[in-house]
Amino acid sequence: MLSMLQYVANGIVFSSIIILGAIGLSLVYAIGNFANFAHGDLMTVGAFGAIIGGSFLTGYVPGTEVSIVGIPLSFYLAVLVGMVVATVVALATERLVYRPMDATPIQLLIASIGVALAYRGAIQLRYGAESRTFDVGRGGPIPIIRETIGVSVTQRHLVIVSLTVVLVVSLHVLLQYTTLGRKMRATADNPTLARVSGIRTSEVITAMWIIGAALAAAGGAFLGLDTLVYPDMGFDVLLVLFAAVILGGIGSVYGAVAGGLAIGMAHELTPLIPRVGAEYGPAVAFIIMVAILLVRPSGIMGDRQ
């Protein structure tokens, strides 16, 4: 039996991945005004962008074998490549599909299901259905942590959690203290008044897709680093992302962080419940979501009636 702390450590790692996906999903809902069912598959696009793009880097860029926290530099560069790829794909989708449709939120939701299938199909067509792993070496548990508190934490886990913290804090600073961030919050709050004030909302929507897609790509690459990269990986976590976003208060970035933490933890702490196996993680996460929504129907951070 693993210790309680071990499950908490696992929960923090999984929560980090969910938070990165959930933020983008919530941003698209707040500013783009629809529930984007392609967001999970955008994580897959980012993960494939990282693993395929990264493999090119290793061959052509010298010095990528240098390690940072036990992970080669090539991985960090690969994550950046994945972020760029996902951003380009998301912006192209917005220009070619969502914007020309000029449609209602429900129509956009349905279109996004088609977009999700297209992303997944295209990836599978080109790269096949098999699983891949990031080539970052074996890297077992860090001995000192294992010896002192009896929890096995790998260097991969440390990298995932610390980069997530960096990304979330950067987003917080952007939203609170920059003009772009204020424009994003203003547009989410009241899009008509934003235009009336002179905000060019199409620029805000572009920024929203760049941020959402880049974070999704990081989440996808981290999920791939923690487990495997395969065409269904993003779709498999999509419902968990929705649970996190709804629990946190749909449309709230801070709610997505809180909801992601709660759902990610519930997911990983499930084996602590007697007679319930880890395979029930998603079910327990959803039960917790329903229970919290019964008490707070607008979610943890939601303030809309």
Partner: protein, 249 residues
């Protein structure tokens, strides 16, 4: 209906007109609200639009400000056609608009609301915001508070100040007194007059017709999407027919 004798003059004198709306049809979706509506605003004026609910007063402002595109007719700003120009561009051409409802960003602070009002300013934003704080001390006191925590009157002041960050030449105000206590209404109207004296021409929609006309130079009485009466504010206040039909006797 006022005789159309001044139509020729209007065309000749269009240099003096800050804003001209001519023969405009407009509405929402398939529903037509405005029928061949014409009005104008001269530089330096306050013009008040009055009339019953559903007369199309707010629709006039939304059509001028590009939130609706006129189906036909012309809207001109200083002689240049602006029909259908989006709001974010009109802001940069010296037009401001204060909506009647949802006119502040409720999840943003007072200070952030004012900053959003000035996104199109090229320079002098900080100085302008400080100037507005000097003018509206209640906003200075509440600068760090979320707009949703403000009272109705404070919110109206913030909505007004947000539009004033740009120092517009033409300001469109939709029912500034809606839902406010009489003492606060007086204060709001004083603010409108003060801004006008500093050189902003104003079109104001007002449900409180008598009070609105009292601070205005001219007025238009709208009914069923078109202008029924127009004239100087005194004329409209003295006209027995207007009084009977639209000013509550």
């Amino acid at each position: 209906m006022t005789a159309g004798t001044d139509v020729g003059e209007r065309a000749d004198a269009s240099g003096d007109h800050a804003l001209v709306v001519e023969g405009v049809d407009s509405g929402y979706g398939d529903v037509q609200i405005l029928h061949d509506l014409s009005m104008h605003l001269e530089a330096g004026e306050i013009v008040c639009l009055i009339g019953p609910n559903g007369a199309g007063k707010s629709t006039v402002l939304k059509t001028v400000f590009g939130l609706l595109t006129p189906w036909s007719g012309s809207v001109r700003l200083d002689g240049a056609e602006i029909a259908g120009t989006p709001p974010e561009d009109l802001v940069r051409r010296g037009v401001g608009y204060v909506p009647q409802i949802e006119n502040v960003f409720s999840s943003l602070t007072v200070d952030e609301n004012l900053r959003m009002g000035g996104v199109a300013r090229e320079s002098g934003l900080e100085a302008r915001i400080e100037e507005l704080y000097g003018q509206f001390s209640i906003l200075e006191e509440k600068r760090g508070a979320k707009a949703r925590t403000l009272s109705g009157g404070q919110r109206q002041v913030l909505a007004f100040a947000r539009a004033m960050v740009m120092e517009p030449d033409v300001l469109l105000i939709d029912e500034p007194s809606a839902g406010l206590a009489p003492s606060i209404v007086e204060e709001v109207f004083e603010n409108v007059e003060a801004v006008n004296e500093l050189g902003t021409s104003i079109v104001m929609v007002e449900q409180n017709a008598r009070e609105g006309l009292a601070i205005s130079d001219r007025g238009y009485v709208l009914d069923q999407g078109t202008v029924r009466f127009e004239g100087s504010a005194e004329e409209l206040l003295d006209d027995s027919e207007v009084a009977d039909l639209y000013l509550g006797g």
